[in-house]
């Protein structure tokens, strides 16, 4: 009973040059769903989350939680809990008091508060630290306290604003999995904001990509990856990013150097933007069909190596995934082929939209 629905919701910052931080957002998050809002900085993802929390005004449109219109309700009346990027713990309170604060404000009895706090502490492995102040905790422990503060309230929606960005890389991966597992267990509707597309892909049931306050696409991680709706989503999702080249149409395909690439969809004569993921390309022997690439940088990641280079006669950079054990050398010219032309994405260079239904 707790789906969250944005209906044409906008946040406009007034001023001489009024800024539409979130522009006509239409988005429905199902009951129990884990939705990730992702986008570069300034895309309005945090603003969208804060609108649901009631910390930011909704200037146009509406937001509802469950079957209640919460557009103009204060945060405390929305039955939500939020985890902040900075954790925002109360420094003068112990871990126990931090988690109990909202329950006490609700007038819950002392024994009930204690039971709930201890249950949440158990779940988050914080029992040992209940009587410590936040300053005596590590970053990871503080993050868990912030989670605990949200969990004890048993809200109908969790709102998380980049809760992992202050953790180091190893802990972030660990916590990422823990949060996802916890959400599945509790089954609480969750909106999670991140700029990290790996977090978005691994955690979300669905991922909503925002850019300049406008929703670009909202789909499952697989769908976003396989059929990005436009050039922006194509370039944003995936690491390293998809190679995007605008090329003249040549019959039923395009030419990458001397390699003719057949396009999976029919295109009109003129120009098209072609998107090829680094793993769709591979290094091949000199005798085989392919185009020539001048190697400018090799990133060795162990299992894989990413070869950065320039296509002869083009300014565009191209990244190719290669075997990590036999990477090419800098300055070397390598031959690159397209593994599967069915995995080539085609976009309209004017509108940036994907060409072809599927």
């Amino acid at each position: 009973m707790a789906q969250v629905a944005y209906a044409g919701a906008s946040r406009v910052y007034p001023g001489a040059h009024s800024v539409r931080a979130v522009d006509g957002l239409d988005l429905c998050i199902g009951d129990g769903e884990f939705l990730v809002l992702v986008g570069p900085s300034g895309s309005g993802k945090s603003t969208a989350l804060r609108m649901a929390a009631g910390l930011e005004d909704v200037d146009e449109g509406s937001i509802s939680i469950g079957d209640r219109d919460v557009t103009h309700l204060p945060p405390k009346d929305r039955d939500i809990a939020m985890v902040f990027q900075s954790y925002a713990l109360y420094p003068h309170m112990s871990v126990r008091e931090n988690m109990a604060f909202s329950l006490k404000l609700r007038g819950m009895s002392k024994s009930e508060v204690n039971a709930k706090v201890e249950e949440a502490a158990e779940l988050l492995d914080l029992t040992k630290y209940l009587d410590r102040k936040p300053k005596a905790l590590s970053g990871g422990q503080r993050q868990r306290v912030a989670m605990g503060r949200a969990i004890v309230r048993e809200p109908s929606v969790f709102l998380m604003d980049e809760p992992l960005s202050n953790l180091d890389a190893k802990l972030r991966v660990e916590t990422r999995a823990n949060i996802a597992a916890l959400q599945r267990r509790l089954g609480t509707t969750t909106i999670y904001v991140t700029h990290d597309q790996v977090e978005a892909m691994t955690m979300g049931d669905r991922v909503a990509v925002l850019r300049d306050g406008v929703l670009q696409q909202c789909a499952s991680p697989r769908e976003l990856y396989d059929t990005p709706r436009n050039v922006f989503v194509a370039g944003f999702i995936g690491s390293p990013a998809m190679n995007l080249l605008t090329l003249p149409v040549d019959g039923d395909g395009v030419k990458l150097g001397e390699l003719k690439v057949q396009l999976p969809v029919r295109v009109e004569p003129g120009e098209v933007t072609v998107g090829i993921r680094p793993e769709t390309l591979s290094l091949v022997g000199a005798a085989e069909d392919g185009f020539e690439l001048q190697v400018e940088l090799v990133e060795e990641l162990g299992a894989d190596a990413y070869v950065h280079g320039t296509l002869a006669g083009h300014a565009d950079k191209i990244v190719v995934r290669a075997d990590g054990r036999t990477p090419p050398r800098l300055g070397e010219a390598v031959r690159v082929a397209v593994r599967d032309t069915g995995e080539v994405h085609v976009f309209d260079p004017e509108s940036g939209l994907r060409i072809g239904a599927e």
């Binding site: 929390a53 910390l55 900075s86 925002a88």
Partner: protein
């Protein structure tokens, strides 16, 4: 080699620090020592350390009616500081965490009240006090000291409030707290060291204020600084008595400062964020 020069440099620095500290503390030591002397020993030149200590000066001072002045000072200081906090804390909150368009003008206005030298205002203040029948009245001093300290206190506390992380306040709002709860249970505990520092400054300023006190009070409402200048007479200075009185006058502030010190050094936000 570097270790040795380091140690040498450090001892030199330590020596210098001691020297500067002694230089600053010397008048205080001199005052304390002189207050236990007979007036004859106090007048010797060069000053002597060989003297028979006495409490004579302290008893003289108490006989001359020091206590009423002390009571006046304490009353005026405590009440004016309380008034400053009562008015200043909400003002500082509004000017830092709930700013509006005119906030910077309001801040400028507060500061501008400190730009007029007190001397320039003393004649109107005197006449107003006279017309209100408030001459030689502690309440007039309480109002004036609160007015004198308020702008500074608002500016000081504002800077402490500004350091309160906004996300913490938002977290409290999401947790279900209304404004008074946010203010008293979340913000105030975090800025408490800053408020203690501000209160200490107000206490010191009110306690040592002389100009208003000497012009607007006499026997009834006189404060400690007014009592002190009573020792500068046409028959000459009574160093020992003056020192004893000054020692008694500065003791309360020293004690308050010493108590507040622990609160002052405590970190402000203590791990709220990151």
């Amino acid at each position: 080699m570097t270790a040795r020069t380091n140690r040498l440099g450090r001892s030199a620095l330590t020596g210098l620090t001691w020297l500067v500290a002694l230089l600053f503390v010397f008048p205080v030591i001199w005052m304390v020592v002189t207050s236990f002397k007979h007036e004859v020993d106090a007048a010797t030149d060069p000053p002597t350390f060989a003297f028979a200590p006495t409490l004579e000066q302290f008893t003289t001072i108490l006989d001359r009616g020091f206590l009423p002045y002390l009571a006046n000072s304490a009353f005026v200081t405590v009440l004016s500081t309380a008034l400053v906090l009562l008015l200043g804390v909400p003002a500082a909150y509004a000017l830092s965490l709930a700013p509006v368009k005119q906030t910077s003008n309001a801040l400028g206005f507060f500061l501008s009240t400190k730009m007029l030298p007190i001397v320039a205002a003393i004649i109107p203040l005197y006449i107003i006090s006279q017309n209100l029948g408030m001459l030689d009245n502690v309440w007039a001093l309480i109002v004036l000291y609160a007015g004198m300290n308020l702008p500074l206190a608002v500016w000081m506390m504002r800077s402490f409030f500004l350091e309160v992380p906004t996300e913490m306040i938002e977290a409290a709002r999401v947790d279900g707290a209304k404004l008074p709860t946010v203010l008293y249970r979340v913000i105030l505990p975090v800025v408490a060291p800053g408020i203690a520092a501000t209160a200490l400054i107000c206490v010191i300023f009110s306690w040592t204020e002389f100009f208003y006190a000497v012009n607007l009070t006499a026997a009834q409402a006189g404060t400690v600084p007014v009592f002190l200048v009573g020792f500068i007479t046409s028959e000459g200075l009574f160093w020992a008595q003056l020192s004893a009185a000054a020692l008694l006058a500065s003791l309360p502030v020293m004690i308050v400062g010493w108590i507040a010190q622990n609160h002052l050094v405590r970190g402000l936000s203590m791990g709220a964020v990151k």
